[in-house]
């Protein structure tokens, strides 16, 4: 008889996933004295070798386009995600008309290796959404519960920003911001005239040395991964201190399959496929923390069926996989001929924006609920593949005229990205596909996704705002969007913003939620979820900072409960 390989050791906790939520849980739990086994589906990471920081495009044979030009649609081959919208042998499906795009990273640190480093706090009203407008749900916790953890996360990982006293964008513990770029000054001036709030951005990038990490060297390439760890990633900032405790066992190439449940209805470990040997193995643990990413954790719960839990673990409410939300996204850009006169200068700065537009219309009635913020980019960035696609398409031609136009137009574009709050709807969720397994034999997810009128109106408002800013700044708005079709007003496909959350939401009522306010399963006391899945709503603030604050809070609660013998 084939024996399943299992370590005789029983760990205190098994954490599935090594990204923002898993890394934070591992750090707090090991520092609290617990032994932790961490399962990561991807390979280990060697920043000094794997990150392409400070490389020129011509140093790679594919110049950043990737093999066969395929990396262009996945952000280019310089980025550090080690994964993308598709992963060979690990499919997912979409119900007819859904077209959900699921971005996964298989690597130690997960998506924190390449993420945008935008670190925004949710605001007090974000936790009382249902009370506010009758849509979605209230959180079981309030801003006052999470605020101390925002303070701690910011103090530990390092976030730059400024105190602004804008109610939709609470201030935090900030390092000084970098100086604005020319493009950002231009936008700021136009915003001032339009009464749109435009302030320094809040990014998890060090402008001063912090906790042994050197400050940013302003190469503008955070997405490639930072060899000096001057920006935040779980792989470089959370996993190393957890390792130093001697309490963390990191197992890579381990694709979690199922949470194992004992006769007493409690979790007793996790079974996983060892990708190298293609064999099934088991980790035994007293507590299981899922942080595999919102949808991956939902998949694990749904695939963990037993006599006691026939619909999947922690799913007596039937809400695992439900309330799936991404951010509303619509992009636009303008050309600014006045920038042609700028002398050549270093425009790199930190990765991403130095200034941004928080939600500013919170003091009036709008024709859609909630709000959005606006990110910006562009200017004299490092040239790369695709940079002149628009010029080629728009102006056409060839020869000396094309070459001199490219020289003239370089650096004169500014891009805008609206990122808004989606309201959960009954047509948007994920479930187990009844027909398909991945190459590891694990049933895959099937997605259902629909934008509602709320989101479409928000996207329209984004487009109108981008145009107003560009024209006020003396530029030409270049983006054309359709009113009809599946993606009106340039609204992007669900999943494209990579803020998918909500699939195991927290709530006060066990009948309509999966977790309590400490990210602990209502049904199974020794199961926690600390990725994006617990988020009861998805405000227009990028979720990573909140995931880490919730994970820190959940881990402290877990330590406390373990001490009391309650798990």
């Amino acid at each position: 008889m084939l024996q399943v390989m299992g370590s005789p050791q029983v760990y205190d906790v098994c954490v599935v996933g090594s990204g923002a939520g898993g890394g934070m849980a591992a750090k707090i739990l090991t520092e609290g004295g617990l032994s932790v086994a961490m399962l990561e589906a991807g390979p280990p990471l060697h920043p000094e070798k794997d990150f392409k920081m400070l490389m020129w495009p011509y140093e790679l044979p594919h110049r950043g386009a990737g093999v066969g030009g395929q990396a262009v649609k996945d952000f280019g081959e310089f980025l550090a995600p080690n994964g993308a919208w598709t992963i060979a042998g690990e499919p997912y499906t979409s119900a007819p008309g859904a077209n959900f795009q699921w971005f996964r990273s298989r690597i130690v640190g997960g998506r924190t290796n390449h993420w945008g480093r935008i670190a925004l706090r949710f605001s007090p009203v974000d936790f009382q959404s249902f009370t506010r407008d009758g849509l979605g749900a209230d959180w079981p916790i309030g801003y006052e519960d999470i605020a101390p953890y925002y303070d701690r996360v910011e103090s530990y990982i390092g976030v730059f920003g400024t105190k602004e006293n804008v109610s939709s964008a609470p201030d935090g513990v900030f390092l000084p911001p970098p100086k604005p770029r020319c493009t950002e000054l231009l936008v700021k001036k136009a915003c001032d005239r339009l009464n749109i709030i435009c302030i320094p951005s809040r990014m998890a990038i060090l402008t001063r040395a912090l906790n042994g990490r050197p400050p940013c060297h302003y190469c503008g390439q955070c997405g490639r991964g930072c060899t000096t760890a001057s920006n935040f990633s779980s792989s470089q900032v959370l996993i190393p201190p957890a390792m130093q405790t001697g309490k963390l066992t990191l197992i890579t190439g381990a694709m979690a399959r199922e949470v194992l449940v004992g006769k007493d209805g409690k979790a007793e470990g996790v079974s996983y496929i060892d990708k190298t040997t293609r064999t099934e193995k088991r980790i035994r643990a007293r507590v299981v923390v899922l942080a595999a990413s919102a949808c991956e954790s939902a998949r694990l719960l749904l695939n963990s069926k037993s006599a006691a839990f026939p619909d999947g673990l922690a799913n007596s409410s039937g809400t695992v996989g439900r309330y799936l939300m991404d951010s509303v996204g619509s992009d636009g850009w303008g050309m600014f001929p006045q920038l042609e006169k700028m002398p050549p200068h270093n425009h790199d700065g930190t990765g991403g924006m130095h200034m941004y537009i928080p939600w500013w219309k919170f003091d009036r009635t709008n024709d859609f609920p909630r709000g959005y913020h606006i990110e910006m980019g562009g200017g004299r960035e490092m040239p790369g593949v695709g940079m002149f696609n628009h010029l080629c398409h728009h102006e056409e031609g060839y020869g000396l005229s094309l070459k001199s136009r490219a020289r003239q137009a370089y650096g004169t574009g500014i891009g805008f990205a609206g990122r808004g709050e989606m309201i959960p709807n009954p047509d948007t969720y994920c479930e187990i596909d009844p027909d398909l397994v991945d190459q590891w034999g694990i049933p895959v997810l099937r997605f259902h996704f629909k934008w509602s009128e709320y989101e479409l109106r928000q996207a329209r408002d984004m487009q109108e705002t981008f145009r107003a800013i560009v024209e006020m700044a003396g530029g030409e708005y270049m983006t054309k969007t359709d009113i009809d079709g599946p993606y009106p007003y340039g609204i992007l496909e669900g999943g494209k913003i990579i803020h998918e959350v909500g699939t195991a939401r927290m709530g006060a009522d066990p009948k309509t939620s999966v977790l309590n306010g400490y990210c602990q399963a209502h049904d199974v006391k020794n199961v926690f979820v600390t990725d994006g899945a617990p988020l009861a709503t998805n405000p227009d603030k990028n979720p990573t900072l909140t995931i880490m604050a919730l994970a820190w809070r959940a881990s402290e609660y877990l330590l406390d409960e373990a001490k009391k013998g309650n798990l």
């Binding site: 044979p61 093999v67 790199d348 490092m382 040239p383 056409e396 070459k403």
Partner: protein
């Protein structure tokens, strides 16, 4: 450069896995990529008269591709052109790995020859410089295809090649210098925006 422990076989395997789409080995270690780059350079230097041996295109098609790249971004007083910048090698490499590119570009070059034979009784490369200019002036603008629908496939082919030629040129040392990009370096402080010249 340290290449100990990294064999060419490992690297090619990594690249091939990457081609399968988002494999777990998609991260190409910087060191390995630089090594491949060096190998390509060595191969180029070792072959007859330092001539690049195309991976996908036939010798004649590659000559056509090179001529077109040169027309799309020629050298001028500021800088060298797309050929000097390695755009044909870059395009050949991507095309060798992508069937859609093979159809677009391989088929497109064939179309261009047929078009020239119909019009001038000779292939594109046999055409006189002013005949080639006449052809490219027609293929370089969508409005010409609206007037003469028989041009539409040629216009689409040229647009595709123009985009790839720009990619090849503006990712090269020559192209990046041509734009006066300043950066990709480590700074102690970010200097911010220099004063804007008066309008």
């Amino acid at each position: 450069m340290a290449t100990q422990g990294v064999t060419r076989r490992d690297i090619l395997k990594t690249l091939a896995m990457g081609a399968a789409g988002g494999s777990v080995l998609q991260i190409i270690p910087a060191e390995a990529a630089a090594y491949v780059h060096q190998v390509v350079h060595k191969e180029k230097a070792a072959s007859a008269a330092g001539k690049y041996a195309p991976r996908y295109f036939s010798a004649r098609q590659y000559e056509m591709l090179t001529s077109l790249c040169d027309s799309i971004i020629p050298k001028d007083d500021h800088s060298g052109g797309a050929v000097e910048a390695g755009a044909p090698e870059f395009i050949d490499l991507l095309t060798s790995e992508n069937e859609a590119y093979q159809l677009r570009l391989g088929g497109g070059l064939q179309w261009l020859d047929s078009f020239c034979i119909d019009r001038y009784g000779q292939t594109y490369l046999e055409c006189a410089p002013e005949q080639r200019r006449e052809v490219l002036d027609r293929l370089a603008y969508r409005k010409n295809a609206r007037q003469d629908p028989t041009l539409s496939q040629g216009v689409a082919f040229f647009a595709f090649l123009r985009r790839l030629t720009c990619d090849g040129f503006y990712t090269s040392k020559i192209g990046i210098a041509d734009l006066h990009y300043i950066g990709n370096t480590a700074l102690g402080e970010f200097p911010g925006c220099p004063p804007m010249p008066e309008a």
